[in-house]
């Protein structure tokens, strides 16, 4: 049901006429996003079924609070978003007011001494890091890309990032937070007048704010947040120059005391050993994978054109790499002093050798050497993920957190077999068996891994194959009791067998009835049920749960 004129005027009075709209042309912009074709009723390439009631753009925390209070007063559901990467950023239920936080885009402060920045919701990592590097700090940009909101990443969404081996998972990088609760009350996590911590007094309400996955707008609106930053051993600005193989630019000059390595391992067991040993040695600023050689080339070529990948295949480049490499790993060494760098290099090579891994000859000479040193360094640091969307469709089967052994057990050989069956059926891109992306966190204390595949978002068969692949992967996980599914990053996508809400409901009893606990918390914090629940817990079905 549309907003009544009177209620619309209430919201208009809060933000001003220019900052609210219910025009179709505006509303449609909030129905198309990455992965919408996987939602019920959305044919490939089409929009989400539900338009928001209106889109409102608050300019301050006070306006956000006033909007949320009005939502409670008039029974209007709301969904906040910031940089909104993915269909989960929009409500999947009807009659929801969309609160777009894009006007709140200020870096409030960078506390260089204590290593954190206070930001509003629409400050992307690239904006934050450009400023942070000037004072010797660096933020752990989400792997979704540096265009993503730093605040959303640490408070509301996911925590994976390429620099996690040094900087940790972003669920752990939030400090003080300003939060408009679902009922419109505003609180500060941590001290009322400072941002250096978000924990206390007493139990930390960060536990309600988010878990492994954030509340995705289902638990109020976070209006400011202190993001923990990490030491940056590099220059205050990174100078680039035109050129490079695939990104159109490259480092203008090499980074001092930094080196990107690609190390190959013959099998997943060796890969695991290598990762554990590198974690123990604490010599890597970043440890990550982009899958095997064919997948890596597909991603790299995607930045240029589809034809580039064809050209590379025809030139034999991909096949040559596939013959020499098996399960490569990318490591970034980055040191503060020459002494430290010398030690890192020595230990790194010792670990590689002892684990039975190797540095392929091809990456020790041009052009791959240049690619790693001049371009891949930017990818790691700048976290430029536009490469991933080759062919227009890019999906992950699920994202798992866990120990290296447990994740590789599940996402190694079994994932290869699964993927190749779907490659043979021609529903997804044929880019080799190993397409598992991963990041390490806290010196490989745990890792994140996802099975990636490319598909045609405008092709119904391709989309359906993806839905089947995801269903099969999830079902296999269940049968093998691998125990990751609850840690699924929850892109809120259904699969060929059921909706994501149905799947979470099925999973709940296997994981301590987490869905019931979440619903209890939801009802305690959102008594009027106005914060959008379509991407929270088991979604709208939770209203019928007996808790």
């Amino acid at each position: 049901m549309p907003l009544s004129k009177d209620v619309y005027r209430v919201f208009e009075d809060i933000v001003g006429e220019k900052n609210i709209s219910d025009a179709d042309v505006i509303l449609d912009a909030y129905t198309f996003n990455w992965l919408v074709e996987f939602h019920p009723g959305c044919a490939p390439g089409k929009y989400l079924q539900n338009r928001p009631l209106a889109v409102i753009l608050p300019g301050s925390a006070g306006e956000v609070q006033a909007i949320v209070r009005a939502c409670n007063r008039y029974g209007v559901k709301y969904k906040p978003s910031s940089t909104a990467y993915g269909s989960h950023a929009f409500s999947l239920q009807e009659d929801v007011l969309h609160i777009d936080l894009k006007r709140m885009n200020r870096i409030i402060d960078i506390d260089a001494k204590n290593g954190f920045a206070v930001v509003e919701p629409y400050v992307p990592w690239c904006q934050l890091n450009a400023e942070a590097m000037k004072v010797g700090l660096f933020g752990t940009a989400h792997q979704a890309g540096s265009q993503a909101s730093a605040l959303a990443n640490v408070t509301s969404g996911w925590g994976m990032n390429t620099m996690g081996n040094h900087g940790g998972h972003n669920a752990k990088n939030a400090l003080g937070v300003e939060w408009v609760l679902p009922d419109g009350e505003m609180i500060r996590l941590g001290p009322p007048d400072a941002w250096f911590t978000g924990d206390g007094p007493g139990p930390s309400l960060r536990g309600v704010m988010r878990g492994h996955v954030g509340a995705l707008g289902g638990n109020g609106v976070y209006t400011k947040c202190a993001v923990k930053l990490h030491h940056w051993p590099g220059p205050s600005t990174i100078k680039t120059a035109p050129g490079g193989v695939f990104s159109g630019y490259k480092l203008a000059e090499p980074l001092e005391r930094a080196r990107v390595y690609m190390v190959d391992t013959p099998d997943y067991e060796t890969l695991a050993d290598l990762m554990y040993a590198l974690g123990d040695a604490e010599v890597c600023y970043a440890i990550m994978r982009v899958g095997g050689p064919e997948h890596a080339f597909a991603i790299l070529a995607g930045a240029i054109s589809n034809q580039t990948l064809v050209d590379w295949h025809e030139a034999g480049m991909v096949e040559a790499a596939a013959n020499e490499w098996n399960h490569p790993l990318i490591a970034l060494l980055y040191a503060e002093s020459d002494r430290e760098f010398a030690y890192q290099e020595k230990v790194f090579h010792q670990v590689v050798e002892e684990c039975g891994a190797s540095i392929p000859v091809a990456v020790q000479v041009s052009p791959f050497k240049d690619l790693l040193e001049e371009e891949f360094a930017i990818f790691l640091i700048g976290n430029d993920t536009h490469w991933a969307h080759h062919g227009g469709g890019f999906l992950i089967s699920a994202g798992y957190m866990g120990t290296t052994d447990s994740v590789i057990r599940h996402m190694g050989y079994p994932a290869e077999k699964l993927k190749m069956r779907y490659v043979e059926r021609k529903g997804i891109l044929a880019d080799g068996p190993d397409s598992t992306y991963h990041n390490s966190f806290e010196h490989n204390a745990y890792i994140y891994k996802e099975l990636e595949f490319h598909y045609d978002a405008a092709n119904a068969y391709s989309v359906e194959e993806c839905r089947r692949l995801v269903a099969e992967e999830r079902d296999t996980n269940r049968e093998q009791k691998d125990g990751f599914e609850c840690q699924d990053i929850g892109l809120c996508l259904g699969d060929a067998r059921m909706t994501i809400q149905e799947r979470f409901a099925e999973l709940g009893p296997l994981y301590g009835d987490f869905h019931i606990w979440q619903e209890r918390m939801k009802r305690a914090f959102d008594p009027n049920d106005v914060a959008d629940r379509s991407t929270y817990g088991i979604g709208t079905a939770a209203r019928n749960l007996k808790v």
Partner: protein, 492 residues
């Protein structure tokens, strides 16, 4: 003499845990009715000592049926903070009998321990596996590891603390409503052993899904439920270690050094103390504490640089050279000795959990502690507040130990004042009582953030934070709807 109520409780609880594990003898209950804090004595009606998780759950369910308050306790006495003194009688759930270290996992650098396992229990097992837990500064003998991480006691190696919740990974908890729950990666499916079989290690703390349950149990002083085991992140055992003292009359240069060293990952253990506190940490007895304190400099930073499995000497060498450069930048120098205290002997003490005497009691036999969270660059602002308040009450400022522990990779800092007193001297004890409250009030008024509000501070802290009280009570209503868990603590 036992009351009829106590006899009834004893009977009910004996049916759950067995008669030998429950007592309502006044002599036994009295041991839990008071601690070294200023919380008024209130003896529990009974003490129950469950031996299994199922017994813990049965006790919590019984408490819900009978609306009986439960107070979980896992560390051995003496206890200091008032959080385990029953505010409303009821039953103390003493978990010290559940003290097994269930697993030490070298490959994943993690261990799993039951609630009653102490730092002394873990250390030799971890060491045998080539690991160590980087715990709080000189934990007292009998301190439960689980209690320590639930209390968010800061570890002494800030660069390993990505989050204030570290090194806690996962835990099992019986929430106040009597339901089991395992947090983080441990949530399921299956129990510990089933997860170990597939390579799991209960390492990832977040979740499951969209809540972080561990954060809501930490800092809760037993008001949300009873934790039965926890998995704790460990680090490699150093094979070579070098401890340095950096000394100065002013705090500022040491703070500058601490920021640089922590941010750049130079060394591991790092903390700051005034001469008095360092003397207490290092001394074997009161006389030695007095001698040390007399000769020690005003401020000392303790920094340990370690080598591990790979090229350990080379690591210590390069890090020492880097540390020396940082020190020079700050007008400081790395020293291996500070007036009678050698680095090797102090390092040995630092790595001996449960060493006696407990450092805060070394000077006079007893002490009171006041601590809060701030940042290192703000710390100096609180010194005159404390010293002036103490002097006003006739307590010598020179007797006060000050301990600064950088936390969460240097983004914040635990600041602690230790007020030693002679427990045999009533006047001294009374004077410290007066100082404790006046200093606490002054610090609160100055904006000190008491993130762990133990009973002496809770009322004042929450009075000023009504914004936090309502959401915390909502959380409480979810986990402990009948309010049986440690009522009268925090804002519940």
């Amino acid at each position: 003499m036992k009351s009829a109520k106590s006899k009834n409780l004893e009977g009910d609880l004996a049916a759950i845990v067995g008669a030998e594990f429950v007592s309502s003898e006044p002599g036994e209950t009295a041991a839990y009715g008071a601690d070294r804090s200023y919380v008024p004595r209130k003896n529990p009606d009974a003490v129950v000592r469950p031996q299994t998780r199922e017994q813990v759950r049965a006790v919590v369910r019984w408490a819900n049926r009978t609306r009986t308050p439960l107070v979980p306790v896992s560390s051995a006495p003496p206890r200091f903070r008032g959080d385990t003194v029953p505010a409303a009688g009821g039953v103390v759930v003493d978990l010290s009998g559940m003290n097994k270290v269930l697993r030490v996992d070298r490959r994943n650098r993690v261990m799993v321990a039951e609630a009653g396992a102490t730092f002394e229990d873990l250390a030799p097992l971890a060491e045998a596996a080539g690991l160590r837990m980087v715990g709080p500064l000189l934990p007292k003998a009998g301190k439960s590891i689980l209690a320590s991480v639930l209390e968010r006691e800061p570890g002494i190696a800030p660069r390993y603390q990505w989050d204030v919740s570290d090194p806690l990974c996962c835990m099992e908890v019986v929430f106040g409503n009597g339901e089991f729950f395992r947090t983080g990666e441990a949530a399921g499916p299956g129990g510990l052993e089933a997860q170990w079989k597939i390579g799991g290690a209960q390492k990832f703390p977040c979740g499951p899904h969209q809540l972080d349950y561990h954060r809501l149990v930490q800092g809760a002083q037993g008001t949300m439920g009873v934790a039965t085991w926890a998995s704790i992140k460990c680090e490699l055992l150093p094979s070579v270690s070098s401890l340095f003292f950096l000394c100065h009359d002013e705090l500022a240069p040491l703070v500058s050094y601490a920021y640089k060293a922590v941010k750049r990952n130079v060394g591991e253990e790092l903390f700051l103390a005034n001469g008095k506190a360092l003397a207490m940490m290092a001394a074997a007895d009161a006389d030695q504490a007095a001698r040390f304190a007399h000769g020690f400099p005003s401020w000392v930073l303790v920094h340990v640089i370690n080598g591990f499995e790979r090229l350990p000497e080379e690591r210590v060498a390069y890090q020492t050279a880097d540390a020396a450069d940082l020190a020079q930048d700050c007008g400081l120098a790395l020293k291996k000795r500070v007036d009678g205290l050698g680095s090797a002997s102090f390092l040995k003490r630092l790595r001996t959990p449960g060493a006696k005497p407990y450092w805060k009691h070394a000077a006079k036999g007893a002490s009171q502690e006041i601590f809060f969270v701030t940042t290192m660059d703000r710390a100096h602002q609180y010194l005159p507040i404390v010293f002036n308040e103490a002097s006003r009450a006739g307590y010598p400022a020179s007797d006060i130990g000050v301990y600064l522990q950088p936390m969460v990779q240097g983004s914040s800092c635990h600041m602690e004042f230790v007020l030693p007193f002679d427990p045999e001297d009533e006047r001294d004890a009374e004077r410290v009582r007066e100082v404790f409250f006046s200093v606490s009030r002054a610090l609160l008024a100055a904006g000190a953030f008491f993130s762990r509000p133990y009973p002496a501070w809770a009322a004042d802290v929450y009075r000023a934070r009504s914004d936090a009280v309502i959401p915390l009570r909502r959380v409480k209503s979810v986990f402990d709807p009948n309010g049986v868990m440690n009522p009268g603590k925090l804002c519940f």
